[in-house]
């Protein structure tokens, strides 16, 4: 796994952003930036290249599902792997996220191990774009 990957972590709770950032550091990924909702994240994604997007769903402003759809409809960003890290646990929602093109979906509360597994899965070239 390439350790210089650039991550963008989007969550409206600063605690959760910090937790994810720490876990990514433990996994050896030091290049992590943060945004507090889709509205803040989208211009960041458009302004500089990111390799992985990790986003919450339920956020004020622009929710994660809208961010995912915006990313997938932007030709420059369409291929970026997106991992949804959220407390949203309705069956319809997970199916909807999959249809919108999410690469991975982790339910909060989660363990460090599950996050590492799902990340590895979406970063494996064979799984990318699946």
């Amino acid at each position: 796994m390439k350790k210089d990957l650039r991550f963008l972590v989007v969550d409206d709770f600063s605690t959760m952003r910090r937790i994810v950032k720490n876990l990514l550091h433990d996994l050896g990924y030091a290049n992590v930036q943060e945004a507090d909702d889709g509205k803040t994240a989208l211009p960041m994604l458009q302004a500089e290249p990111f390799d992985v997007l990790i986003t919450d769903w339920n956020m004020p402003g622009m929710p994660g599902l809208d961010l995912l759809k915006a990313v997938r409809s932007d030709p420059k960003l369409a291929k970026i792997p997106v991992l949804m890290l959220t407390a949203e646990a309705k069956r319809d929602q997970i199916v909807e996220a999959a249809k919108a093109g999410v690469n991975g979906y982790v339910i909060k509360p989660f363990t460090a191990q599950v996050l590492a597994e799902k990340l590895e899965k979406i970063l494996t070239p064979a799984a990318a774009g699946a």
Binding site: A89, Q93, A98
Partner: protein, 253 residues
């Protein structure tokens, strides 16, 4: 022996006008017939209006009582805003506590990592020194004990590092409980709005209720963490999530 039949309420009320109606019809007197019809419809409408007036009076009385209930005024003016402030405070407190814990985790992890790494290196050096055979029996014995100590310090340090990751993960309760509290705050704010409007509205003017957002819109914005006994149709663990995700990807085609 049979007494004259007692006229029913129906007969008492409508008998006279019906008789006038049928007599006018038999006599072919259109003027009298129409007058009787007018009388009949007038009687019917009077009943309806009486009922409406009674209903209106009851509604006004209920609204007046509602408006003037000091408990309601207190609720709308003080208790509900108080409840919101309290919940905001809870949110702030848990946020501060979680960040304080994260500060300590972040500052402790490198310390224990450094100690564990140097302990592992020193355990190796002790083993080499002992294996070289150059040490006197006293030193050889001391090296054995030192190696044991450093090896244990390394293992313990690794365990503390793993525990710190668990402490880190445990702080995610702040996000989950925070999301739930935010939704309750929103609900309380809506309740406050409606109550304030109800209190302000003059009796008789019905308050316009704001309808809850459509379920689809809720789904799009996100529903927040699942609450046992409240949420329906939620997934059962990460395996369930993975299966649904695969299903959704397949549907995407």
């Amino acid at each position: 022996m049979s007494a004259a039949p007692v006229p029913t309420t129906l007969q008492q009320r409508w008998g006279e006008v019906c008789l006038a109606l049928s007599l006018a019809l038999e006599a072919g007197d259109e003027e009298r017939f129409l007058a009787a019809v007018d009388e009949l419809t007038g009687m019917r409408e009077r009943g309806l209006w009486d009922s409406l007036r009674q209903l209106d009076a009851r509604l006004r009385a209920a609204l007046d009582q509602f408006r003037l209930d000091p408990r309601l005024l207190r609720l709308a003016g003080k208790d509900i805003p108080d409840a919101r402030a309290r919940l905001d405070h809870v949110l702030r407190l848990t946020d501060e506590a979680a960040h304080r814990t994260l500060d300590l985790v972040e500052s402790s992890t490198p310390l224990v990592a450094r100690t564990a790494a140097s302990a592992a290196a020193l355990a190796g050096e002790c083993r080499e020194a002992r294996d070289s055979g150059a040490a006197s029996p006293y030193w050889a014995d001391l090296l054995v004990r030192l190696e044991g100590h450093f090896a244990a310090a390394h293992t313990d340090g690794e365990q503390v590092k793993a525990n710190l990751v668990e402490v880190l993960m445990a702080q995610s309760y702040q996000d989950l409980s925070g999301q739930i509290i935010r939704r309750v705050i929103e609900l309380v704010a809506q309740l406050e709005d409606e109550l304030a409007r109800l209190v302000q509205d003059s009796a008789g003017a019905a308050p316009g209720y704001r309808h809850a957002a459509h379920a689809d819109e809720d789904t799009r914005r996100g529903l927040g963490p699942a609450i046992p006994g409240v949420s329906v149709s939620t997934v059962d663990g990460q395996q369930d999530v993975d299966a649904l995700l695969a299903m959704g990807v397949a549907m995407k085609g």
